[in-house]
């Protein structure tokens, strides 16, 4: 690791777009306007499963300002899978721009385009729909029931995979103890402040789409597939994003809005309201996982059996990858002789499952880390010591042959986090017997750093030194609000040796940026794209020094870039970068530009330990979280303030997962929480103090040693909090979120263990 000689890496550079955002100058898609722009509004199905018998559009058409109303007869017949992101990916294709077979409440059954948003909304409300209600499949049990009618021709349980190493059954048979839990996790809404929005226009044979998406090239691919335009005629421009958390990863609006603009030849702006965001975009896949952990009497993990079922809602979407993502995480946290993993993905008549921050990690870690704590309790062991005795370490391999675990800072996270938390003292504290009970809990976790080992994992970057001596960097970055553009600028400036105000990075634009189909997903951005930028910038710096050496007639190794120019050993600037470019042009030297493609070399684990101290009101079931300690094996914090910001936000999101957040499909497929007055987020008064411990031991293949943080910060809080509640109450709560009602019920029946049919 580099030391304090670094100028920008490791310092909390203020975010580059901060001023625009706080002054309201920042332009989000929903704020955009164009001459002749039309507004599109979707009409969602009232019923969770139906055929559209007929639609009376006469009143809607008569609404002033309405330009065109689209039903299923007016849109491309092609069925697609919005989760496909490589050109040759073809997972189950079952979604259409507009359907006459709505498969969930809020499924798109019509689109209204009008001169104003208000006019479109009013017209949508005037469409009279006659439904033929179809039987509803809601809940995992219903989906697995062979007598349930299939939602799509391929059936309701199309994915079933088993992976294993070692022989679970025989090891479990000779184990001292098997601890079994069945854990359920909820359908979580991403709750970005900015609702989904998209702007598209078709001009001079080119369809341009502006969107706060996560993967511009995926949008291009899907739009090409659905509309039939060649890639060369589709330009996708990443727009400013007001939060995504995975919710804007799968293109929901882009194919629709693109099609409307193409069909009408006028710009079209489409936005969703909050209810539509909840019902009609994507949600976190809900999961039920049964786990059986076989241990020795002294607390060694021997073998584990996992049977996980993911509910992906009404369309297949990410049904395959969510189950594979959970598999990967389950294998890379603890040492044991055998693990058996079975995963199934089922479809239900509920809003569509999809990408969500953590991508399977919050689900699988809820299952496994609640179970580990229950195992500690069963053995009478300190959960901290139990984990320390079983965790993976640097040098360990992936038991299924995946990428090496890389630098593993988990032990340091556990020890330093426990120290900061006061784990030993608090463990000795009596939970109490009165109205208020205190308890503590913890969780360990692992997450990834990109797609190496699973998918093509590369990042391409194009850098040029401009005649004014500034550096232009073009790479298909997507800042979701996390500060990607700022830290990438820090990395570029650091690696080039130029002042940070001399560097300008561009966000993704398919017409201009080098092809990169992976976008902002899978915690790859800092680790993979950041390393591409670092290496690309170093390559450009090297070229600069070569040419400066030639121009100045001085040995190359006596020169360095000093922020604005090329300097000698004494630090004195000998040649401004602008002067160098001028010389380069006059002397017809090789252009001072670099096209650099970095192939990822590794995909280490990012490790963390979360600790929670809670007070539970046994009368109201309200949980007051007194303290969260988040210890993260970050490798190296490029921008410590941003890392803290990710952790605070991750705690907020995952604490909501533990306590409040659930869209709550009932047995008839109807969603209970479709507005933020029913769907509760952790708000400021309910946020606990969060103390952060960063373990910065460096990671060989990350830029300046950095690893991921965006997703790892939003995974371990939930199991830690559930474990703390169980510690406080002596319950065995197993359904997330632990709502006041569930806590009071668990106290009343003395168990809190899952009761059949309680949910989904």
């Amino acid at each position: 690791m580099e030391g304090s000689s670094l100028r920008y890496v490791g310092s909390s550079v203020p975010r580059l777009d901060g001023e625009d955002k706080v002054t309201g100058r920042a332009l989000y898609v929903g704020d955009m306007n164009m001459p002749g722009m039309l507004h599109a509004v979707m009409l969602g199905s009232d019923l969770p499963h139906a055929r559209i018998r007929s639609m009376d559009l006469s009143a809607a058409r008569a609404q002033p300002g309405v330009v065109k109303i689209y039903t299923s007869a007016d849109v491309p017949a092609l069925e697609y899978n919005a989760n496909d992101w490589l050109p040759d990916m073809h997972d189950y294709a079952d979604e259409r721009i507009v359907t006459d077979h709505p498969c969930h409440q809020g499924d798109r059954i019509a689109l209204v385009v009008a001169e104003s948003a208000e006019s479109a909304r009013l017209a949508a409300g005037l469409i009279h729909v006659e439904y033929e209600a179809l039987p509803v499949v809601a809940g995992i049990d219903a989906a697995l029931d062979p007598s349930s009618p299939p939602i799509h021709p391929y059936g309701n349980a199309p994915f079933d995979i088993s992976k294993s190493y070692g022989d679970y059954a025989s090891i479990a048979a000779r184990s001292a103890l098997i601890v079994e839990d069945v854990i359920e996790t909820p359908a979580q809404h991403h709750a970005a402040i900015e609702p989904h929005a998209c702007l598209a226009y078709f001009q001079d044979g080119e369809l341009t789409i502006k969107t706060p998406c996560q993967i511009t090239f995926q949008v291009q691919m899907l739009v090409s597939r659905i509309i039939g335009l060649p890639y060369s005629a589709i330009r996708v421009i990443k727009a400013l994003t007001g939060g995504s958390f995975g919710g804007k990863s799968q293109p929901v609006l882009e194919p629709i809005c693109g099609f409307l603009a193409y069909d009408l030849g006028r710009p079209v702006l489409m936005t969703l309201d909050r209810e539509q965001c909840i019902l009609s975009s994507r949600r976190r896949n809900s999961v039920r996982g049964r786990v059986r952990l076989a241990l020795s009497a002294d607390g060694r993990f021997l073998a584990r059996d996992l049977d996980v079922i993911a509910d992906t809602g009404a369309y297949y979407g990410n049904g395959t990858s969510i189950s594979m993502a959970m598999l990967k995480k389950a294998m890379r946290l603890y040492r044991m002789e055998a693990q058996h993993y079975r995963a199934r993905t089922v479809l239900t008549n509920t809003p569509v499952g999809g990408t969500a921050r953590g991508y399977g990690s919050p689900q699988i870690h809820a299952v496994t880390e609640i179970n580990v704590e229950n195992a500690a309790r069963a053995l009478g062991l300190d959960p901290l010591e139990l984990r320390l005795a079983n965790i993976v370490h640097t040098g360990d391999t992936d038991p299924l042959g995946g990428p090496a675990l890389g630098s593993v800072g988990l032990e340091a996270c556990l020890r330093q986090g426990a120290e900061r938390f006061g784990w030993k003292d608090k463990l000795a504290r009596d939970p109490g017997t009165g109205r208020y009970r205190r308890g503590i809990g913890m969780a360990a976790l692992v997450h990834g750093n990109g797609y190496f080992g699973a998918y093509p994992e590369f990042s391409a970057v194009r850098l040029a030194l401009l005649p004014d001596g500034s550096v232009l960097v073009d790479t298909a970055l997507h800042d979701l609000g996390c500060g990607t553009m700022t830290i990438s600028t820090q990395i570029a400036a650091e690696a080039m040796g130029v002042n940070i105000d001399r560097v300008r990075l561009l966000e993704a634009d398919t017409l201009r940026s080098p092809y990169e189909p992976t976008g902002s997903q899978a915690c790859r951005v800092t680790y993979v794209c950041g390393e591409a930028i670092r290496l690309g910038a170093e390559a450009l710096a090297s070229k600069v020094l070569d040419q400066a050496s030639a121009v100045l007639g001085l040995p190359r190794d006596s020169l360095h870039i000093n922020g604005t120019g090329v300097a000698g050993r004494d630090g004195k600037e000998l040649l401004g970068l602008d002067a160098l470019v001028a010389q380069n042009i006059r002397k017809r030297m090789e252009p001072l530009a670099v096209d650099y493609t970095y192939e990822a070399q590794a995909n280490p684990g990012t490790y963390a330990a979360n600790f929670a101290d809670v007070e539970v009101d046994t009368w109201t079931g309200l949980v007051d979280v007194k303290l969260i300690v988040a210890a993260h094996d970050i490798g190296r914090a490029i921008n410590p303030d941003f890392v803290s910001g990710q952790i605070y936000g991750g705690v907020q999101m995952n604490l909501g997962y533990a306590l409040y957040e659930d869209m709550g499909a009932s047995a008839d497929g109807m969603i209970k929480a479709k507005s933020l007055d029913k769907y509760h987020l952790v708000n400021a008064p309910s946020m606990p103090p969060v103390e952060i411990v960063l373990v910065e031991n460096g990671e060989p293949f990350g830029p300046y040693g950095a690893k991921s943080i965006g997703e790892p910060s939003s995974i371990g809080v939930a199991p830690a909090v559930i474990n703390a509640i169980n510690h406080a109450l002596g319950t065995r709560l197993s359904i997330l979120p632990a709502t006041p009602e569930r806590i009071v019920a668990a106290l009343a029946d003395g168990s809190g263990a899952m009761r059949a049919g309680e949910r989904r």
Partner: protein, 288 residues
Amino acid sequence: MNASAVFRPRSRQELVEALGAAGRKLIIAGGTDAVIRIRRHDPGAVAVIDLSRAHFMKGCSTDTQGLHIGAACTMTELAADAVVREQASALAQAADTVGSVQIRNLATVGGNVAGAAQCADTMPALIAMDAAARIVASNGSERILPVRDLVLGIGRTALAEDEAIIEFVIPERYLKMPAGFGKIGSRKAVTIAKINGAGLFRFEDGYLRVARLAFGSLGERAFVAARLSRELIGLSMQALRTESTLRLFSTMVDEAIPGRASLPYKRSAVRAVADDIFAWALAAQRGM
């Protein structure tokens, strides 16, 4: 929404004239509920009566009748008003728990009552204190209606299309009593009540002699828990915050919402509401 006319009354007379406008009317004060309702369900053509300039409906004052509270008083104003805090403390406490700071700055007590939500936080305090609403109609006449009779059910009131609440009057006999408010929602703050309640008490020689308790979010509209109030009479101050007394509240919930799915939770949680009511009231009694 299609506003056929917009009125912004600055006097009682202007309000009366506005109420006489043709067709359906939408009275909007803080707009914290009304705007959401309009977005959710377009009311079509309405005459809008905007009370944001209705200063004659602001302010709290006392006279021989009791405490007058202008219907356009915001929650922030109620919570901070020295007279309300001193003489009708449960109402000030209730106002202080409504929504967020931003909502309290806009939301009015008149809107809280006329919105007729089962969870309206000022309702238990108002009906526990037997508040009456002074209502004006488009012909200029007035009537007085007890608040408990004003709200009929969720979103339903006894107000006619051409009527508006001008103020609330809390009778002298229920002022300056030790009182308390309690509320349980899904989270600490900015939360909708799963149960809310208010209580007024009079203690003599350490024993409870008068009790009036009212609750919201237990059924379609807030109500005075008459039997529970009677059962508490005669208890010592020390006995109030005990398990056996709090259990009476659970029984009250059993009777209020028999068979409801929410019953097992609410019968437990109501103890916390009761305990908060007593804590406030006992602190007030000690301070007297």
